[in-house]
Symmetry: C2
Subunit: 194 residues, 2 copies
DNA sequence: CGCGACGTTGATTTGCCTCAACGATTGTGG
DNA sequence: CCACAATCGTTGAGGCAAATCAACGTCGCG
């Protein structure tokens, strides 16, 4: 049973951490639901319940919260090879604090929590894959938290340029500002100086 | 085979997420190494390799980075029932960016990465336990990151008081300041106003 | 073509930091 | 048990990074 093209990206990602048999792979892929979103379309709105976690095949998503003054704060971008959702809502089935929206036209593979948990029972190695993903995501998030506490706005911008070189000149400045935690005006000044 | 007293705290924690057989439990507990640290003693210094992850039985630990100006920034406190380490170093065996130090006399249970991975193979349910821990830790860290981006210093202090009521009047003000990301002087002013 | 989203720039404000001085508390060695 | 140092919390004066508010030019797109 040949995997369809969008699944290949995920299978490549999987096999960097675990190896599955043909059967296990088929079982897993059968639960993945391909889904396309166009720029500015939502995978999840603030206040909804996050049914699915989404693997990004192509394109780019953003996960963000809107504060009481209506300003967006981007928790993370998800580029190809990353999973994205409101993890808190995905796990607890409470209302999400985050919205997940396409920054550009994006191909996704969706996996529901119930399917995921069922697969964990059938394929222990898949639980290992997600355990590793969670570990890595936690390390990344901890590092970002420390950066926010220790670095200046300029340094955070420079770090962003190193971490997301493929985005720097491809997405609006205001999105970068909202990710590194400054106003668009101030980021513009940062760029202007040197 | 009766578990010793310090292990009981961990077993209680475990059983909130998974259930192990007697044998599995014994196998797991055999790899845990009790360890005591006195106030201001280190479990891990910046630049060392994190051999172990530590479960806090009693007391309190802090994980923090020291910036180029010599200021401490506390990533997290670990009170009884929490695991603590420099996760990045624990996984990759590179030099740790964080130090882990006792805020007060503390009882720990240590588990090395190699023992942990070995146990994952022998007891898949244990991998589930840590998968769940990682999920929850990631949710917590993401929320803290968003708080840092959206809240004022005063609001972050109020949130701290709600999240760690058992610590607020028990640890030095400067530690709280270093956790919420302000100077001790400014936190003092926050407390003074109302 | 006209409108809205975007990036830039200037003037002003502000939240928080820096530096410095000062009591109060803790703890430590003699 | 005391003397002294160290750590801690507080307060004041001044400074700076970044936010705010506002105006304006540009561009992409319906």
């Amino acid at each position: 049973m040949p995997a369809s093209i969008p699944h290949d990206t995920l299978v490549a990602n999987l096999s960097r951490h675990i190896s599955l048999s043909e059967d296990e792979l088929a079982l897993f892929c059968a639960r993945l639901r391909p889904h396309k979103v166009k720029r500015k379309e939502f995978l999840l709105r603030q206040g909804e319940i996050a049914r699915d976690s989404a693997f990004v095949v192509s394109g780019c998503m953003k996960a963000y919260a809107t504060d009481t003054n209506g300003f967006e704060h981007i928790l993370r971008f998800a580029t190809p090879g990353w999973w994205v959702s409101d993890l808190s809502s995905f796990i607890t089935k409470r209302q999400s604090q985050l919205a997940v929206e396409a920054v550009r036209d994006t191909q996704l593979l969706l996996l529901s929590r119930s399917d995921q948990l069922e697969l964990f029972d059938k394929i222990p190695k898949l639980e290992r894959y997600f355990r590793i993903l969670m570990e890595n995501a936690l390390v990344t998030t901890q590092m970002r938290l420390m950066d926010n506490m220790t670095l200046t706005a300029r340094e955070r911008y420079q770090r962003f340029c190193r971490m997301y070189p493929e985005l720097v000149n491809e997405i609006p400045l205001k999105l970068i500002a909202s990710f590194i935690g400054v106003t668009p005006e101030f980021l513009s000044r940062i760029r202007a100086a040197k």
